[in-house]
């Protein structure tokens, strides 16, 4: 089902935890759908110097959180905003089609945190227009049962 890379990130997730007095926090998802991602950012001079996450969710939710945090660490805020869910999925050697929504969630979590940062600091970033952190993310499940 999952690639080795997904399993590796799931078993050994990077950047788990919280940042005390973070510069930005974003949370997406809801318990109804079975996944919640919370992302904490430390931003210095428009560069993401630290990032931590907490995730309630399935294996791919945890793995995409881990990968997304890795991918934005050290990047500028604008670069982080350009992170696409596809890029996260590809970095994990792909996700099962039914799990692609997890990568969307990761992208949204980053966006949501940056939205928080922009709002607090009155900044404008390309790609944040029209972003609504409270909007429901696209959610497709499927599978089989016994």
């Amino acid at each position: 089902m999952y690639s080795d890379k997904v399993m590796e990130h799931f078993m050994n997730p990077r950047n788990v935890g919280e940042i005390e007095n973070p510069d930005a926090v974003g949370q997406v998802g809801n318990p109804k759908c079975g996944d919640i991602m919370k992302m904490y950012l430390r931003i210095e001079n428009d560069v993401i110097t630290d990032v931590k996450f907490k995730t309630f969710g399935c294996g791919s939710a945890i793995a995409t959180s881990s990968m997304a945090t890795e991918m934005i660490k050290g990047k500028t805020v604008q670069e982080a905003l350009n992170l696409s869910n596809k890029a996260v999925a590809e970095a994990l050697d792909g996700l099962p089609p039914v799990k692609m929504h997890c990568s969307v969630l990761a992208e949204q979590a980053v966006k949501s945190a940056i939205y928080d940062y922009a709002k607090k600091n009155n900044k404008q970033y390309e790609g944040l227009e029209g972003f609504d952190p409270n909007e429901e993310h696209d959610h497709h499940h499927h599978g089989d049962e016994e």
């Binding site: 788990v16 759908c33 969710g57 399935c58 016994e146």
Partner: protein, 392 residues
């Protein structure tokens, strides 16, 4: 080899060696079509007849009340659609419960689209239907009550005898999905007053793709699979002889040391429940404390999600299941867990461990040792947990 602890016996079971041994001759030595009159065919026919006797005896039915099918789902579909279409002149109302297996629920939903009416009885926090509500739901046009014997997720056992009595007193047919109960609870269809009952081989160490429907003599229903004259012209298709023989052998083994078997499962179950309760905070047993399948353990583990739990357990060789949406076929978590009143979080965070004949004390201890650190690790990652514990 890596340690493997299989605790998903309610999902499916491995074949017992005796079962495989019984099946093997029918693949290529005695492989004839049971409908054929020559020696090869008669051997197969005898094997099926013998299997039918064994299954019948195990539930105190007559041999000609047992009809072999391609599995529990087919049995459920046959019973419900068969009664519905076969009795639609009498009425178009069916009663079932909210916690049935999808083979029953989705069949009922289909029938609703085709013009039938279905009442889905709710259940209490333990998953039990309310007999008073059942009585009140029966209408003059009710043709069928279908209530499962024991639930596959939470293991709750329904008051089948009382339900059958109500159905019988109102002359409504009573079907029960006993796929999980068969082999784990003693069933006497005559004493219980059951009209139709679905069972499946692969839940009792028999082969996948074989099941049976018990149809009490005189019960009128349409066929689901038309064609050849097999199964007394009620279920067409060349009989799966090895499957049927294996099913019977499995049923025979299950009923051989029945009390021993139940005692074994129950004691392991209770040990596992006690062990996990002791070691892990914020967990809740789902289902009824005593009216439950001997091998069923189902916990909701707060703050974490089921799939990641299953994956983590799989990494240490433990195989089990969850009612989380992420492991099922739908957007929503288990309809059973929602029906007993769990929140979405708790339903997503459910863990089902089902014990079987090959489970050992050592397996149980292994789980009791492996699970707590996994839960702790996942909770440390969970944004829901920080609220309780005040972060890491």
């Amino acid at each position: 080899m890596k340690k493997r602890v299989y605790l998903d016996y309610s999902a499916t079971t491995p074949l017992k060696q005796e079962v495989l041994d019984a099946m093997l001759p029918h693949f290529n030595a005695s492989f004839g079509n049971p409908s054929s009159i020559y020696t090869y065919g008669r051997e197969s026919k005898n094997a099926i007849d013998n299997a039918r006797d064994i299954i019948a005896k195990s539930i105190n039915a007559k041999s000609d009340e047992i009809f072999f099918t391609g599995g529990g789902s087919e049995s459920d579909n046959w019973a419900i659609k068969g009664i519905a279409y076969g009795n639609k002149h009498k009425g178009k109302h069916i009663i079932t419960s909210k916690i049935e297996h999808h083979a029953v629920l989705h069949t009922c939903e289909y029938l609703e689209k085709e013009g039938f009416e279905v009442t889905y009885l709710k259940v209490d926090e333990y998953g039990l239907v309310n007999l008073q509500e059942l009585k009140e739901a029966i209408r003059s046009d009710t043709i069928l009550i279908s209530i499962m014997f024991a639930n596959n997720e939470i293991g709750t056992i329904q008051p089948i005898k009382e339900i059958a009595e109500i159905a019988n007193s109102k002359q409504v047919y009573f079907h029960t999905d006993a796929v999980q109960a068969f082999g784990n609870i003693k069933i006497d269809v005559k004493e219980l007053g059951i009209d139709l009952m679905s069972i499946s081989a692969h839940k009792i160490y028999g082969p996948k793709g074989t099941g049976a429907l018990y149809i009490k003599k005189g019960v009128k229903l349409h066929q689901l699979i038309h064609g050849g004259a097999q199964e007394k012209k009620r279920r067409a298709g060349t009989e799966n002889v090895p499957g049927i023989v294996g099913f019977a052998k499995a049923a025979e083994l299950a009923h051989e040391n029945f009390d021993e078997h139940i005692k074994h499962l129950t004691s392991l179950r209770d040990k596992l429940i006690a062990g996990l309760k002791e070691k892990i905070e914020y967990i809740h047993l789902n289902g009824h404390p005593t009216k439950r399948l001997p091998g069923n353990v189902n916990f909701s583990i707060e703050f974490i999600e089921g799939e990641s739990l299953l994956l983590s357990l799989d990494m240490v060789g433990i195989a089990c299941s969850s009612g989380s949406a992420c492991t099922s076929g739908s957007l929503d978590p288990s309809h059973v867990l929602m029906s007993i009143g769990l929140t979405h979080e708790l339903a997503h965070g459910s863990l089902r461990l089902t014990i079987g004949d090959f489970t050992t004390e050592e397996d149980i201890e292994y789980v009791i040792n492996q699970l707590p650190p996994i839960v702790e690790k996942l909770r440390q990652m969970s944004p829901l947990y920080e609220k309780v514990k005040g972060g890491n």
